[in-house]
Symmetry: C2
Subunit: 399 residues, 2 copies
Amino acid sequence: MPYYIGDVIKEEKRLIARTPEKFRDTGIDVKLNTSAEGIDADKGIVRLSDGTAIPYDTLILGTGASAFIPKIPGVELEGVFSLKKLDDAIQIKNFINNKECRKAIIVGAGFIGMEMSEALRVRGIETQVIDLLPRPAIRWDPEFSKVILEELTRQNVIFSGETGIVSIEKGMDFRLRMKSTRGEMDADIIIIAIGIRPNTKLAHELGLQIGKSGAIQVNFSQRTSKEGVYAVGDCCEVYHRVSHRWVHIPLGDVANKQGRVAGRNVAGGTMIFPGVVGAQSFKLFSLEVAATGLDEAEALNSGYHPVSNIIWGNAIARAMPGEKRLGLKLVADRASGKLLGAQAVGTLGAVNRINALSCALWTGIALDEIAYLDFAYAPPVGPAWDPIHIAAQELMRKL
Amino acid sequence: MPYYIGDVIKEEKRLIARTPEKFRDTGIDVKLNTSAEGIDADKGIVRLSDGTAIPYDTLILGTGASAFIPKIPGVELEGVFSLKKLDDAIQIKNFINNKECRKAIIVGAGFIGMEMSEALRVRGIETQVIDLLPRPAIRWDPEFSKVILEELTRQNVIFSGETGIVSIEKGMDFRLRMKSTRGEMDADIIIIAIGIRPNTKLAHELGLQIGKSGAIQVNFSQRTSKEGVYAVGDCCEVYHRVSHRWVHIPLGDVANKQGRVAGRNVAGGTMIFPGVVGAQSFKLFSLEVAATGLDEAEALNSGYHPVSNIIWGNAIARAMPGEKRLGLKLVADRASGKLLGAQAVGTLGAVNRINALSCALWTGIALDEIAYLDFAYAPPVGPAWDPIHIAAQELMRKL
């Protein structure tokens, strides 16, 4: 539930409402509010929650993922939420609108935790984020986590690192009282955002191969290990073009693309999903935070020989007024000179750089080319030597 | 002199002031305010404007380009300016600060004309732009010129197309009176911005090969046709990686890169300039306008079989508040399926897309890959299906 949640809820409701109409006269029967309770692969039948069953020749699993909820006392109390589905967002919104919410605790400082901290602060709610790890947004370099932490502090969001949730009980002055590994804290609302798990119950029933990531194994056509059964979205793996491994990166844009590829193949076409480079981002108040490719640990793990640097440059020409500081980290392979990953943080232009570098990663070009790439230069949109050029040139000296 | 001119002037002055200090103790003698009046190639001597002469083994020409001034009556009158050098900007600024300037005419609706229109309007000066061509920013598709024209109109800048300058004379109520092919107009200041020409006088004296573009021919090492003589920046050509031709694209970022390549080679290193893809942009009030690669005419001229489309999408997720409409045009080659060029216009994200597509052009990937590139997705920074994906998928259907 990031700050734009109201608009997103409206948009999602609009899309869902349009669904039956969109499929009318297509011969496709769309059953909303109906879940698949079980599959009989031998008979080729899916049993539905409304008691009926439907036969299939081809099956596409888009079972998604669910928020991981730790088994701790009190997690079922009113005021404790997770955020994965549209319904979660609606429930949180209604709760905030209708009940007194003075203080919030967010458990987990990943994407959802960060976006939620903004959403709650914007509503005027005192907000604290706790995480087992020592710093927020662990995917990013410690130097960038510091910038993220500064932004949280500037916005009066308290971050408590190396802190785990132990239990929740009803409170006195506040609705809830949370016991953590570092003492007790009050809250009117608690959001648990410590990651998601792919929904693989049906896949297990079908005997599908599950990858090391815990998500369903698929091939480039989105087909699972079983003939005629496909999987797409948060429930399945995706090919990473930099590590050349199958990983679990549950993001909305990836799910959209996989859905189209599976649909095309099922409908008799031929199409492969070319994979991802791990591009991702979130916005935190005035900060853009983005990354792509591998970090050093992932690179090492894949057998690369990572070397990296961080530069602080300007997103637009130095002569331009306004805040424009941009941090850019590059990771390259000492053996091949190829770019392996990038991270950026700043009030402007971080996503811009990560998108360009995602395209560079996609094609596998080396640092010496990245150092001289041609970008649209004009003082209000970028410096003559872009931070990308500067970072790549500096990193080349370390190869 | 775009709107940020004051800051740019300050920055440039600061850089120039620092130059002697930066080169102190390097053994390099920097002569400011001194021009090369002639070169004696046989003797290996450059004659300077201060009457002295210096010998050389290696010569690097960075003679730049000059604004093209048409030979019309009155062009030398006080209040008529062009804008190429720092001094031009300072003179225009002083003129506006010290003299009454109620009305301005800008001759030429290219980059400089567009940026100047904003600079003058921001100062409260009534501004009219004329151009021989029917629409502003002719590099862009007519559909995008329309958006540019709408922005000009919204900002009270008058545009008069198919209008040429005939002569200028002293005025009565206003300082100047300009005769155009469509009648007479008043102005206190006139800016001539109808393009630049490379400064090749010294190159001609040296007998260097000049390219079809009128700029000095160089090779990938920035060497001219003569051993030991190099050229960089606005005076020389550059290799275009999409047309595979040598062209004249006088931009500051290209000049910077060429300077470094020449310096490296002259100093005994080995380095080539890998060329450009034609990325360019300008900002016009609230609008980002950017392009890269070839347009249809350039593509045809290079022997490609161009096919193109324009889509109107959103720079960020539709659910997000605020203006976010983005126009994106792609040009591809029907024979190879490769992207050849792109243009974008919008209040947000136009440069972001053009930079990513510049990287795609650099590597020469085809539309079917561009249609599934992995970008950093999050609703506040981009839609799940990016305008790039949508445009590429639509254009593939036309191949």
